[in-house]
Symmetry: C2
Subunit: 237 residues, 2 copies
């Protein structure tokens, strides 16, 4: 937690914020070992960042005096990430990684090699997803929550939604064995599609290429999804 | 496990290998759902890769008939990674990530912000480290185990070992706020130094820069160590 991310309701007024949830209080105590007078980085969800001084800390609340929230959050990556739904623990970590890296649009997609049971995981509940996004923002000192959408069927996504998403974006399909190496240091709006453990099936690869995605690879090594996601984003942008 | 990594003692002769350990047997049964006649990728630790056919599978062994092991493992990254010792669970995952990415030389270093208790973790036992390295190799279809060394004191490492390591390598110190952006797509021999959660202290940064490292950053965002390691390696090479 390199940032205390404040919700609108945490603000009593422009100069005073109160944090009451056990997770943040515990973090303040155990990791920051915060004392009265300490200056910490604060940010308003969806807004700006600045410094605040801890003026009160008790069992069930911490109160901050805010100087001013006048810094912009770090730049977002110009990417819409379409990720085959990973298994629950890897989903949790991947959401934190990509949020920390600056992704703001995430689609979780069903594909043939995604186990159907993953769609029943408690990790997909909105409050659990929110929790992982917040952890990513707090890590990277960012305030803008990514949007996450769920696509439980491959075909309607590719046929009905993908064409519009690709109208103003370069589509990249990351898949082992594709002809082109992953480009480096691009800054154009991009849609990046990443398959599940075990990869896309050939039919899915064909449909994504037909829709206008360019097939790219990261070399001979087969990476775990969470490693591949970070490696791709870091090389691309 | 995209590769069945064979130890020398698993080979009965050039054309026959037997796997007996519960982890690989369980993986063959539960993940590969392997049946007699299936062809799988095999590799000899420290050697080459090829295909083998499963000819026998019982409760306590699986036997393969090997066609030939004649493919080279994927290229290694030209990097010596010096990583401030992460907390145990992050160490485990980081070892898997960097092994899968192709790192062959890893030094785990003590720094001021590394908790001393981490050095007592069971994750640092040679057999546990070996386990994580093997998982990374199996993931990436590689056969060459990385070498891991432990440096429990910062100063003797920087004064006595670092100068020799930097004689034929470009030294890069990844640290937030350093002047240069992380270079992209280099291929020269490199020593990459990455700090702990919370970063290096200023004294440590000074000593590493004095020793000849170039300070680089990944942008404004502060990343968790395991995200930063993958992001740096993927951007650099």
């Amino acid at each position: 937690m390199n940032l205390i991310l404040l919700a609108a309701q945490d603000l009593l007024n422009d100069h005073c914020a109160v944090v009451r949830d056990p997770r943040r209080l515990r973090h303040l105590r155990e990791v920051h070992r915060a004392n009265i007078g300490d200056e910490l980085t604060l940010g308003l969800a969806g807004g700006k960042l600045g410094k605040g001084r801890l003026v009160r800390i008790e069992d069930d609340l911490a109160q901050f005096e805010i100087d001013s929230l006048d810094q912009m959050p770090p730049a977002a990556l110009p990417v819409h990430l379409v990720l085959a739904l990973p298994r629950p623990r890897m989903l949790a970590r991947s959401l934190e990684h990509v949020t920390a890296l600056g992704v703001k649009h995430i689609t979780l997609l069903h594909t043939r090699r995604v186990e159907k049971s993953y769609w029943q995981s408690p990790e997909l509940k909105p409050e659990k997803i929110h929790q992982h996004l917040v952890l990513g923002l707090e890590q990277a000192r960012d305030t803008l929550l990514p949007e996450v959408s769920l696509e439980k069927h491959f075909k309607p996504f590719v046929e009905d939604r993908l064409p519009a998403l690709l109208e103003h974006r370069r589509g990249l399909l990351a898949h082992p064995g594709m002809p082109d190496a992953c480009p480096r240091g691009i800054d154009e709006p991009t849609l990046l599609v990443i398959g599940p453990e075990g990869g896309f099936i050939p039919y899915e690869v064909e449909r994504l290429l037909e829709a206008g995605c360019q097939g790219i690879h990261l070399g001979e090594r087969i990476l775990r999804v969470e490693t591949a996601v970070t490696a791709l984003l870091s090389r691309l942008f």
